[in-house]
């Protein structure tokens, strides 16, 4: 391991203190950004999101590398466990883009449903809705 018993205890205490401080900072920042601490003061959503995610990733690093001892494991083990989780970054971006698309599509469909007559006219012209009065084949 490399660290003595006394050093290990000190490191653990140091890490838990840092984790506690980051947690308090996260919560205070979340409340401040939504206007709870200074009335009406709002922080833009993407700054809020970015700071929160960064703080949580820092907490994750401290828990995995120190508490779970990843820092002291062989580099091979570290890579086989952590590299696959990078795929999740791709998953997050892909699925959130998907969710956004669903929202926009629902809006488009609702708008289309509002303008029914326009839809019927354009569909008839493209031959998509059958009208016996204009059918030349029967």
């Amino acid at each position: 391991m490399g660290l003595s018993y006394e050093q290990s205890k000190k490191t653990a205490t140091k890490i838990i203190t840092i984790l506690a401080v980051i947690t308090i900072a996260e919560v205070l920042f979340a409340l401040a950004g939504k206007g709870y601490i200074v009335e009406g003061w709002h922080v833009p959503v993407f700054i809020m999101g970015g700071v929160m995610i960064a703080m949580s990733l820092l907490k994750a690093y401290l828990i995995v590398y120190e508490f779970m001892h990843m820092k002291y494991e062989m580099p091979g083990l570290v890579k086989t466990v952590l590299l696959p989780t990078l795929l999740l970054v791709w998953a997050v971006f892909a699925f959130f883009k998907e969710g956004d698309y669903w929202k926009n599509r629902r809006g488009e469909i609702m708008d289309k449903n509002m303008d029914r007559t326009e839809l019927e006219v354009s569909s008839k012209q493209q031959g998509m809705i059958y009208d016996p009065n204009t059918d030349r084949n029967n």
């Binding site: 506690a20 979340a30 409340l31 994750a60 062989m74 086989t80 466990v81 997050v92 959130f96």
Partner: protein, 282 residues
Amino acid sequence: MADTAVHHAVNEDKELWDGGKSPFKVSYGKIMMWYFLLSDAFTFAGFLIAYGTLRISMPTWPVPDFVFSAFPGGFHHKPLLFVTVMTFILLASSFTMVRAVQEGHQENKNGVVFWMILTIIGGAMFLGCQAWEWTTLIKAEHVSVTTNPFSAHTEAGIYLEGDGHDIKEGDAFDVGASYLIHKHDGEWHNLKYKVTEGEDAGMIKEQAFGPKAFGALFFFITGFHGFHVLSGVIFLLIICVNAATGLYVKRKNGYEMVEKIGLYWHFVDLVWVFVFLVFYLL
């Protein structure tokens, strides 16, 4: 020259394949625990990503600091206080787990049992808190898997009636203002309001229920996490009792079993960090 290069490589391989060496120099149990945790991480990531996707696809979503603002003892309007306490309880239990593992490396049986008992208490306290959270949401606020009375306004307006709690007749609200539809004597009281801006201005509407997915996602994901905490507490108990009876003394492996369950417990804490982030902070 090529012969010696090959000879050297073959020799190294022979040392590796002679047996008695563990990959990455960790025991079978430990490496398997790591890979199990990796698979579990993907499971939770799948759930949290599903939550994010559905939330993004909705026009509105309950605001977390409005939904989670109750505290035991009848307190209200204390946004995120209770879940922050829950986070600290789990973090503290992670610290006591680290201490237990450290005492195990010193082959100190009593130290291991002491710090593991503290960890178990922390886990049990977290479960109790989560049970209180669920009870408040289900009994007091009537959130279920099919109904979600929490939502936020998508247009500005003025309330035409009060609800006897925080909303009074004539209260104005902006886009994004949160509300909770109250239920009395089995009847929902969706307050009426008049829209003041936008294309529906002047219309009288009723408070709409929030997205149904909220209840299902919240109970399922926190339930899945709570189940992991419960199974963790059970395993911790078993291993603590085993340690107390001296089962791990003969093994002389630095109480590696304690280390392995420690990995699982820290994983449970790690998942909570992200559940906390996604459900309550973002």
